[in-house]
Amino acid sequence: MSNPHANLERRRQAIYGWLLLSPAALLLSVFAFYPSLATLWSSTFSRGNRRNPSEYIGLENYADLFADPTFWLVVRNNLFYAGITIPVSIFIALSMALWANSKIPARGFVRTAYFTPTVLPMIAAANLWLFFYTPGLGVLDQIGALFGLPSVNWLGQPETALWAIIIVTIWKEAGFFMIFYLAALQTIPEDLKEAADIEGASRWTYTRRIVLPLLMPTTLFIMVNAMINSVKLIDHLFILTKGGPSDASKLILYYVWEMAFAFFDAPHAAAMTMLVLLVLGIVAAIQFFLIDRRTHYQ
């Protein structure tokens, strides 16, 4: 049945396929798969010191975390942070894109202005916002003083610190997401709008029934990105609050960093990293499998 030539051809195809796969597979193995497994492995060991060498302790590190009130506070902070930044930045990005896509004067300027925060490094953006938030000297206080309002230490009090961080993130992200929406809007043919016009659809009906559904693939993409960013983007914490005051603005990744490099507790940091990976994986899967099914791709 099998002839030698066909077998050879099949093998050649297989080798060809593996050769194409290998660069990506190699890079991912070295920089993603191996570190993840190594982290999983090290999260099951105790923290070693001179007297007690590191030893296998199973899930004890995880149990410690679940018993740690700071961990739960940080989780709550991060959920709140994600719950506000994701929908708000998507909404603002969409509104800006719809506006910047319409026939307005100085369209190029508007688009550039919206996009500027994106090209700034997060550290630079945070420094910029430090000028806004600083009590007494900051722009916000200066404006407040004009109306006779008292000086507010936005970053220095537990009630406002996380909000201040959230606003910086939204300011930074919305312009970036707007670019994706803008690109998607340009792919919607002009004559769909004209067809809707002739049928008597209002601008709002057209946006709701035609534009938003056609933007769904982009929205899904942006949602996944915004979610990842809500965990990943912590640079500004280093400049603005360092997680304070009294952990009010501390996010998970910042806590991981602190655990590993400030308290030198690598096993607990590893355990926390694994939890973050697990949760992110589950949420991404839900987004892709549930929302994807209701999304129209061109």
């Binding site: 043919p189 004559d191 769909l192 004209e194 067809a195 809707a196 016009d197 002739i198 049928e199 008597g200 659809a201 209002s202 009906t205 029934r209 035609i210 559904p213 056609l214 769904m216 129209h296 061109q298």
Partner: protein, 352 residues
């Protein structure tokens, strides 16, 4: 009393940054007519249609539809439907949702909506495809969805912007007949933009030929074919187009600048008896007839239509003859001149 035209354009002009789109376009369309706006690309035919649809607002002039001045009205207030060249179907909506989109927007009750949908799909032969997305349909089916969407609301005026240009030749021919039948069955008025003169001539009751933003001629297909008002119309209408011969090349027509002649009116003559001596450039055999391309130093587009198979070697010299009655006379500006105003010399030749 002259009946009011159903649609009337009066002195319409539209330009963009000084570039003329259309100028001085006046056109009356009776109810139930099939009007084709014909012309080469960039002639302003699509602009005229878009002005009529309300997708553009004219700089000058007046548009009246069904006795109502709609010059500055929004597209949705003009009670018309439109079929776009690209069909402009909503890609994420099913066939049914695409068709009833406008009915939903206008809040037509559900039962009536479904009934109208059923009828529109039946007329366009789309029954059974209700739940498909446009992406899952063939080009011809998409075209019919666009048609169904245009007729479902029962508007009396339907605008079509090159609706067949994305179909292959065979399908185009079939859909051409379908559209014409649909228009007659529903008794609607259709304004149809095309650059294909065969399409315009075969479907329309009235053909409006445009060039560079101006109307060249308005008339029935027969009028455009048999009495073109200028050399542009003469060369645009008909396949093959009318041949143009310089007046001085023909004995007795010195006062005519240009003479037009249709392929079917030319015949081969024996040597010495013809009125023009030409060289054969190419032969095109089409089954029932053969088109023989001829070259003459004072003529363009000379073609002879011979019945059946009649191949001549290229480079071969032939003589051709034709009757004076079949000649179209144009003055130096390219305008048609009535044959009665011809010079006596020509008349003498006529009688000979």
């Amino acid at each position: 009393m002259i009946p009011q035209p159903f649609v009337s354009l009066d002195g319409i002009a539209k330009s963009w940054n000084g570039k003329i789109g259309v100028e001085d376009v006046s056109l009356d369309i009776p109810e139930g007519a099939f009007v084709a706006l014909l012309g080469p690309s960039g002639c302003g035919k699509s602009t005229t249609l878009r002005l009529l649809a309300g997708l553009e607002i004219p700089d000058e002039g007046r548009i009246v539809i069904d006795g109502r001045d709609v010059t500055n009205s929004a597209a949705s207030d003009r009670n018309l439907s439109m079929v776009f060249q690209s069909y402009a179907l909503f890609p994420h909506l099913s066939v049914a949702e695409n068709v009833i989109f406008g009915l939903k927007v206008r809040r037509v009750p559900r039962a009536e909506r479904l009934e109208k949908l059923r009828r529109a799909l039946e007329i366009t032969g789309l029954t059974g495809l209700e739940d498909r997305k446009p992406g899952e349909l063939s080009g011809g089916q998409r075209q019919r969805v666009a048609l169904a969407r245009a007729i479902v609301a029962g508007q009396r005026l339907c605008l079509m912007d090159e609706p067949l240009s994305n179909l292959d030749a065979k399908l185009r021919h079939a859909v051409r007949k379908d559209i014409k039948k649909l228009q007659q069955d529903l008794g609607i008025t259709v304004v149809y933009v095309t650059h294909d003169q065969t399409e315009a001539m075969s479907m329309a009751d009235i053909v409006v030929l445009m060039k560079d933003g101006h109307i060249q001629q308005i008339g029935t297909p027969q009028e455009l074919y048999n009495a073109p008002v200028n050399t542009f119309v003469a060369e645009f209408v008909g396949a093959p187009p009318m041949a143009l011969i310089k007046g001085h090349a023909l004995a007795g027509f010195d006062n005519a600048a240009t003479i037009g002649l249709r392929a079917e009116n030319i015949r081969l003559e024996e040597t010495g008896k013809g009125r023009l001596t030409c060289t054969v450039t190419e032969c095109e055999f089409l089954g029932a007839e053969t088109f023989i391309g001829l070259a003459h130093e004072h003529a363009t587009g000379l073609t002879l239509k011979a019945p059946g198979m009649a191949l001549h070697p290229s480079g071969h010299t032939v003589e051709i003859g034709f009757a004076d009655d079949d000649l179209h006379i144009f003055d130096s500006g390219g305008k048609r001149v009535a044959r009665t105003s011809l010079t006596p010399t020509a008349k003498r030749h006529d009688q000979a």
